[in-house]
Amino acid sequence: MIFLDNLMNGLSLGSIYAIIALGYTMVYGIAKMLNFAHGDVIMVGAYIAFCGLQYWGLPPIVAILAAMVVCTVLGITIEGLAYRPLRQAASLAVLITAIGMSYLLQNVALMIWGANPKSFPRTFINSSILHIGGLNVSSATIYTILANVVIMIALTLFTAKTKMGKAMRCVSEDRGAAELMGINVNRTISVTFAIGSALAAIAGVLLCSSYPILQPTTGSMPGIKAFTAAVFGGIGSIPGAMLGGVLLGVIEIFGKAYISTELGDAIVFAVLIVVLLVKPSGLLGKPVREKV
């Protein structure tokens, strides 16, 4: 039973990583950059939802939607102001800009909301404990896993069927050829940031529903771990981000439960190192193909 409890917790944590990892992997696949500010967009989403629930008295669903809208606008703005001017620049310059953007968001959050941790309010998401068989499962766990499954299906359909989704696949594979098809690459990248950031808002709410302490650095560690998950699964691959995220969450919880609580994070990163040694492109990543 404890094993199953741990498994559920692992799946729940992993689902949060997976939703965050999707933002990393989509942006990497399409804009070919690592958006290290992504973790902090999660934090902003969580704060907006927090304000909506605590100060503005919004119903939970509306608070979540408000967080998604704010994060979407934030994501598009970050891309347009900070990353777009660097489209032709060296990738290191973009990487450093992303790290700078991450600190900027954290410090602005510090100015607005202060350094004191806030306690994230209870909502329908984490209001109850369900008893399934002998298992005690928090409703947050169920909602998190459900959200992950729904998002995965929606994104898969979106990239496979819609015009914008197909344009994204084209830009991801060959930006120049995509332009020659008449695809507006800048707009495609904007939409990618918008989707990734909206998902970050959802991840922020889910994260704080399970671990209800909110401070300006709340997004950092989950952000780094989700990035790890994206690389683990094969960066650029949507199913890879899902698989990597869920596996990472399960490994982390099992590592903490059965090996060492202190070493939980170290185990996560050790797994990443081993996977990258054996399969450098990640679990589902495609090796870079030679162009004929």
């Binding site: 197909k166 594979e173 050829a177």
Partner: protein, 242 residues
């Protein structure tokens, strides 16, 4: 000159200068393509042929000079806005979307068009390229080189271009496939297409073209009817290996 072109050209490139950083790659070239013509741009590796096409298509920005299609200035627009104006480039190295199916590749070619018109254009392409019909649902990366070239050309045609630009369509193909590709180019021409063709295979290119320009290190050194250039001593020595 055998005939005088009186109508305004479909494509007019005027005094084009392109730089790669500090390198002056295209040094003031001018060329014209009239409707229903095949015009070829020949020259050695590094002469600037592909750079010229990429600039016309909007992938590169010229520092000076103009590109006009039907009298409307195109440069500065960017590739994605140039395609709907009726100009399509089938790029060097084919650059099909390897992970998409043949059909999806063709659909992407019609990205800027009304989706309702796509099925008819698909049928048209499948008629012209029956091999692609057979492989409709196959992942494009698994096609042979010749099939990939056909797909790239069909994809470029899916935007219904007024001018089709082909960059090295015969590159890396076996001789029999090269002939097939040139047969297709001739057929396209007969059905009224206007084509600007860049080729290293100067012999074949001059054989199908109406007019030709010879490029050398960023400038046009010779121009004229293709048949004349085909029999020109200097061209033969430099590009036809005889």
């Amino acid at each position: 000159m055998s005939e005088v072109q009186t109508a305004a050209p479909l494509l007019r490139v005027n005094d084009l200068h392109v730089y790669y950083g500090a390198i002056h790659a295209i040094k003031g070239i001018s060329l014209e393509v009239h409707e229903n013509e095949i015009v070829t741009l020949i020259g050695a590796n590094g002469a600037g042929k592909s750079t010229t096409l990429n600039t016309i298509a909007g992938l590169l920005k010229p520092r000076q000079g103009t590109v006009e299609l039907h009298g409307a200035v195109l440069n500065g627009l960017g590739a994605s806005k140039i395609v709907p104006k009726g100009l399509s480039l089938c790029p060097e190295g084919r650059r099909i979307f390897q992970q998409m199916t043949v059909k999806e590749n063709l659909e992407m070619g019609a990205y800027s068009r009304d989706p309702a018109e796509i099925p008819a254009s698909l049928d048209e392409m499948f008629q012209r390229f029956p091999r692609l019909k057979e492989r409709e649902r196959q992942i494009a990366g698994t096609l042979s080189g010749g099939e990939q070239q056909m797909l790239a050309m069909a994809r470029a045609l899916m935007s219904r271009p007024k001018l089709l630009m082909l960059d090295e369509p015969s590159m890396g193909l076996a001789p029999i496939l090269v002939e097939q590709i040139f047969d297709i180019i001739t057929e396209l021409h007969q059905s009224g297409a206007t084509i600007l063709l860049v080729e290293q295979n100067a012999q074949m290119a001059l054989a199908v073209a109406d007019r030709a320009y010879v490029m050398e290190t960023g400038v046009i050194t010779m121009q004229g009817p293709a048949q004349e250039l085909l029999h020109n001593d200097a061209v033969q020595k430099a590009y036809l290996g005889s």
